[in-house]
């Protein structure tokens, strides 16, 4: 007898509605000329037109993406190498790596940004460069997401035995790691990287403290345009959301294509 699956469907539908409401409300609001007590006063495409002709918007989105990439790369390389070393050579070290990687969870970006600025601003080192500062701070603040994603994936594929199997077949440990383990972890790396991307992409506090108005990302653009009408801000939010969605879908498509 086929069991009825009504309950899961109801839960899933309600959750989807709950998650979509803010998005739909923002989208709808971006098309309105104003709002009466209950319904929109009228509809317009004016703000969307403004957004697409706004000369600062697209460079701001591009800046957001560009500033996200180096921290994600740095963080992934560091975490993968650390976990590889601990899993293959020193399994007892893993708990310490975990503890270290989780620290940024309790030290929010602002708390890291202010001391970094006080410590390095104006010094004759490379760290006084605001872009370097930003990259370094982001690298630390995304550490928990990247670590957790990669760790879960690494433990799901029985690395030790895969490496041993490859070793018996004549491969070196590092070669086996690059050729077998790393590709098998790709989905975990991508998921945690996307999570990190959305965190960096959505940051306002750190960039405001470190770069001020010198490096205008979309969040900064939103902040600077706070005096502008709300509908315009809604358009920017929808564009940001869509940009993140497009990037993540492109990455997953690429991954699935590689898998065959």
């Amino acid at each position: 007898m086929k069991r009825k699956k009504t309950f899961p469907y109801v839960v899933l539908t309600l959750t989807s509605i709950f998650l979509l409401i803010p998005f739909i409300a923002t989208l709808v609001y971006s098309f309105t000329v104003g709002w009466t007590k209950l319904l929109p006063a009228g509809w317009t495409l004016k703000y969307w037109g403004q957004a697409f002709t706004e000369p600062n918007l697209w460079p701001a989105i591009l800046r957001g993406v560009l500033i996200s990439i180096p921290p994600i790369l740095i963080c992934n390389v560091v975490v993968i190498l650390a976990l590889y070393t601990s899993v293959v050579y020193y399994p007892k070290l893993e708990k310490y790596i975990q503890a270290i990687c989780m620290v940024p969870n309790s030290l929010k970006g602002v708390i890291i940004a202010i001391p970094v600025l006080a410590l390095y601003a104006g010094t004759p080192t490379i760290f006084s460069n605001r872009m370097v500062m930003l990259v370094c701070i982001y690298s630390i603040s995304i550490l928990p997401f990247v670590y957790q994603g990669i760790r879960n994936n690494l433990h799901g594929i029985n690395v030790t035995q895969l490496l041993e199997a490859a070793e018996i077949l004549g491969a070196g440990k590092l070669y086996a790691f690059v050729r077998i383990v790393l590709p098998s972890m790709l989905s975990g790396i991508l998921v945690s990287s996307l999570l990190a991307l959305s965190t960096v992409f959505g940051d306002f506090a750190i960039i405001k403290i470190i770069a001020g108005n010198k490096f205008e990302t979309v969040q900064m653009l939103l902040y600077n345009s706070r005096v502008i009408v709300l509908q315009y801000q809604c358009v920017i939010v929808i564009i940001m959301f869509t940009a993140t969605l497009v990037i993540s879908q492109a990455v997953f498509k690429f991954q699935n294509k590689k898998r065959g």
Partner: protein
């Protein structure tokens, strides 16, 4: 000199002394099983042979060469693991070809050999599938193909069938044995399943707490266990305390325990008369369990519980509480160390 020689192998993990002076010889083309319960050291010995573990003491020889300090790659062996360990990002073809590619063999030769071994394991049609698209049994056959394509000097099998269901397992036991005999490859097989060991092996080495308890052919190990542990582990032997047995019947033995196979005991409702070659005991049936072709009786002989397996007969079934006579050939009463 044997093809493989383990000489006084010791292995310690911190304070744990896992292998305690193993001496073992294996001949070329032999299918040898290391049998024993979990934690007895059988897999550790296999891993020491493969080079995945180092030995704490002792030497290992393969084909006359001391390989004790060789890397796994230098040993030229093949290994099949319990959890298949197929590379998940590679197709069957790529998995099987992996070792040959490392050896930088010609592409055409790799293709030819891959197809040949996949044909041997009967998976030619799965060549372009990924491990996740295969069943457990198919994955294990790919793992076997990946190992034998390298033409290893020795094939190591570390509990390769323990993650597979019973029916498939029986088929794979036969399959592995067939391939081993066809390729005349020396194989060391690790298992904790005595039936599996009996079906597959030329020689069984029974392990217990880091030492070899008994070695021999499957028939020898089954019919003549030498120790209480061997009798317990190998079959459903009756292991009887000699002192308790002597209270019931006269037996001529100096050992503390004796073992009797349940199927060696004859059971009948009346005393069949005395025979000099048999030991006879009177008892009462306390349990009867049908196992299809046999019936397993438990008989209490003056406080001594004895199990006897009798061929099933529709009219000859005896009931619980019935008084019976047990007849045990003296040659089937085995003295244990």
């Amino acid at each position: 000199m044997s093809y493989i020689e383990f000489k006084n192998i010791h292995k310690r993990f911190g304070d744990a002394h896992v292998l305690k002076g193993i001496n073992l010889n294996i001949e070329q083309g032999e299918f040898v099983t290391l049998l024993g319960p979990s934690g007895c050291g059988k897999s550790t010995l296999l891993r020491c042979f493969s080079g995945l573990e180092t030995v704490s003491e002792g030497e290992i020889y393969l084909d006359g060469v001391n390989i004790t300090n060789f890397t796994p790659k230098q040993r030229k062996i093949g290994m099949v693991f319990q959890q298949y360990s197929l590379f998940p990002n590679m197709t069957v073809r790529q998995n099987v070809a992996f070792g040959l590619q490392i050896q930088k063999k010609e592409k055409s030769l790799i293709e030819e050999k891959v197809k040949e071994v996949l044909d041997i394991v009967g998976l030619s049609e799965k060549i372009d599938q990924y491990p996740r698209q295969l069943s457990g049994g198919q994955q294990q056959r790919v793992a076997l193909a990946r190992a034998i394509v390298m033409e290893p000097k020795v094939l190591l099998l570390d509990e390769p069938l323990s993650a597979i269901d019973a029916l498939l397992r029986r088929n794979l036991q036969i399959e592995i044995r067939r391939i081993q005999q066809k390729l005349k490859i020396t194989a060391i097989f690790v298992t904790h399943d005595q039936e599996e060991a009996m079906v597959m092996s030329d020689t069984i080495h029974l392990f217990n707490v880091g030492q070899i308890e008994q070695s021999g052919s499957p028939e020898e190990i089954y019919a003549y266990p030498k120790t209480k542990f061997a009798a317990n582990f190998i079959g459903h032997y009756n292991i009887l305390d000699t002192a308790a047995m002597k209270k019931v019947v006269t037996v001529d033995t100096g050992s503390e325990f004796v073992a009797i196979r349940p199927e060696a005991i004859r059971i009948s409702p009346d005393d069949g008369g005395s025979g000099g070659q048999d030991v006879r005991m009177k008892g009462k049936i306390t349990g009867a369990m049908s196992r299809g072709t046999t019936v397993a009786y438990t008989v209490n002989c003056g406080g001594l519980e004895v199990n006897a397996d009798v061929l099933f007969s529709p009219n000859g079934r005896m009931g619980i509480g019935e008084e019976v006579y047990l007849q045990i050939p003296k040659k089937d009463i085995l003295e244990l160390r």
